[in-house]
Subunit: 391 residues, 2 copies
Amino acid sequence: MRCEVVAIGTELLLGQIVDTNSSWIGEQLALVGIDSHFQVKVGDNFERMEHTIRQALKRSDAVICCGGLGPTQDDITREVIAAIMDVELHRDEAVIEKIREMFESRGRVMVNNNRRQADIPEGATLIAQMPGTAPGLVCPVGDKVIYAVPGVPHEMRAMMVGTILEDLQHRAGETAVIRSRVLRTWGNSESGLAEDLAERIKQLDAKGNPTLAFQASGMEGINVRITAKAVDETAAEAVIASEEEIIRSLLGDIIFGVDGQTMETVVLEMLRERGLTLAVAEGLTGGVLAARLSDMDEAMTIFRGGAVRGVFANASQAATAVRHDFGADVGLAVVAAQASDQQPAGTVFMHLDIRGGQHTQTVSLPGDRARFRNYAVINVLNFLRKTLATL
Amino acid sequence: MRCEVVAIGTELLLGQIVDTNSSWIGEQLALVGIDSHFQVKVGDNFERMEHTIRQALKRSDAVICCGGLGPTQDDITREVIAAIMDVELHRDEAVIEKIREMFESRGRVMVNNNRRQADIPEGATLIAQMPGTAPGLVCPVGDKVIYAVPGVPHEMRAMMVGTILEDLQHRAGETAVIRSRVLRTWGNSESGLAEDLAERIKQLDAKGNPTLAFQASGMEGINVRITAKAVDETAAEAVIASEEEIIRSLLGDIIFGVDGQTMETVVLEMLRERGLTLAVAEGLTGGVLAARLSDMDEAMTIFRGGAVRGVFANASQAATAVRHDFGADVGLAVVAAQASDQQPAGTVFMHLDIRGGQHTQTVSLPGDRARFRNYAVINVLNFLRKTLATL
């Protein structure tokens, strides 16, 4: 089963918008075992769109067209697909009604142009998910298929997850349910993880299901993705849960979270569970640590605040000082070594004052300054995570 | 003149990397008046790469191939282009020497694989810029041309700016030099700017040179780009300078910077010129303001630090307090209105204590919380900028 992606919009070619949709779709297709050999960007031009979609349909079994479903005269994906299907468009009154309601619920009035969004090629079916005013379409062409989805990322994603991926699997004769879970790790290299998991990967290769894959996540560590195939959702989840247990026993506490969790959401949750509040002294990271924590703790009930300075004389004093100044249970300091400390360049002092209990760690970080700062943030969050785990 | 972009790499199709190169190249091409009708992503597969590049060359006058010039067996762009040119590859000893020196200067040893990077199709020429170990290539095919550049963004950019854009213009018979400057504005909408510049745009449309274009830059305002064509660089710069003066007289102080300047670099520079240091109290922006300022003032000589809290009782007290605590000349506070302040939701208090001189402003900001925070940051930086301008 092969599926191409055609991203539509002159603004994509002009570089006014970066096409992240194709990348996301490519990732989802790979996850369910569907090949995507070509991904094309084309402008809002009838002839070139028709040429591109026809060619994609010739080379592949399915084509996902992303964009060009808006209300303006530029938005001609519906017309192009009707031409390729060799059918007429009909205006769907029920869809107009739905769009009208959407506008009214936001206190706005539907303009006439929006009626164009209800033009459906004869023989096409609507995608059930419709988070915006553009309906998605499933358009059969012989035994192949064109999907049309909006270019707005969250609308496209809802349709991919809710309809298209399953429809593609169905067409591929794949009756199995495929599910995955990401285990987020921090503190080991990809080759190190591969070594620790070598035996298990060998066993899984022989079995064929579930599978493991590594995904680098920049400074935020490396993800281990477990993908399972099973007869239904429950069975797939069971396979994943059992595999997760095995991977956890092999990797231990370098796994800091799953799926959408980040180091800061995990740390904030651990603090909350223990009834602790936090204040930070940033002598190196310039506010990045506070920005990340406050972003995840809107009301600042756990993360009480912080102080940012170019230099703190001493990490342990700074940790204790912010703990008192901000009335928190935990004071955390991250401070770069000064020349006078006679430490090698890149040395970072991290200190925790947890209700008077002192914990300290020194690390030596690589990288240019921008990387260095962000690397220090993730390091100190991980230090806090590991220390909290012992309490 | 038409130029297509082919981005090469299976990792692009799998969504492991988002292809930002094509977008950037598309923008540069548009700037010098070259059309780009198609941009294709293709994996590291000989047959599919050959098919894609041949088709692009048929539809367009030039093709930029991005990626696949690395040292591994996957990297086959050189071989594919040689096949399309119908020539052999020869290994260029001078290039090997250059790569070896590059490795040695970093204290590393060149491995044998890197020799492959010196394989050049007969008849191709090397691009002079070579920031990494992959040489770029100019490969004539009849009266058309294929350019091969590395997928590493900064290497690709150096080659585009240093060689390819000029070569394309030359091939297009364009002898003029095209230069542009971006004026960064903050505080007016795109339609508002269009209105303020309507008369001038009409005059320029009649003249044809220079041209003006608007680029939205998200929460960071709207850019007005001046593009000028002239016989040489000096003349182009003169056209731009004279147009900039006219635009500045029409838009006034909503222009905060040019080209790569940001609100924070501008504000830090204004403080430096006035011999002032800064400390901030963030009661709303959670460290984002400090992170942005410290990122641009590594040594924290101007930006002395800040305090982050969920709530400050009072913006003017907070501004004065941080000014004293951090020993700075200017104390800045940005604080959200509390329910008890009996202000509408979204109200933000901004206060400056400049060596005891008090300046205050209240704004009402829209948006969800993530937008709200970032919007508050840019607002308060702009408040500081405007206040400093009066000193």
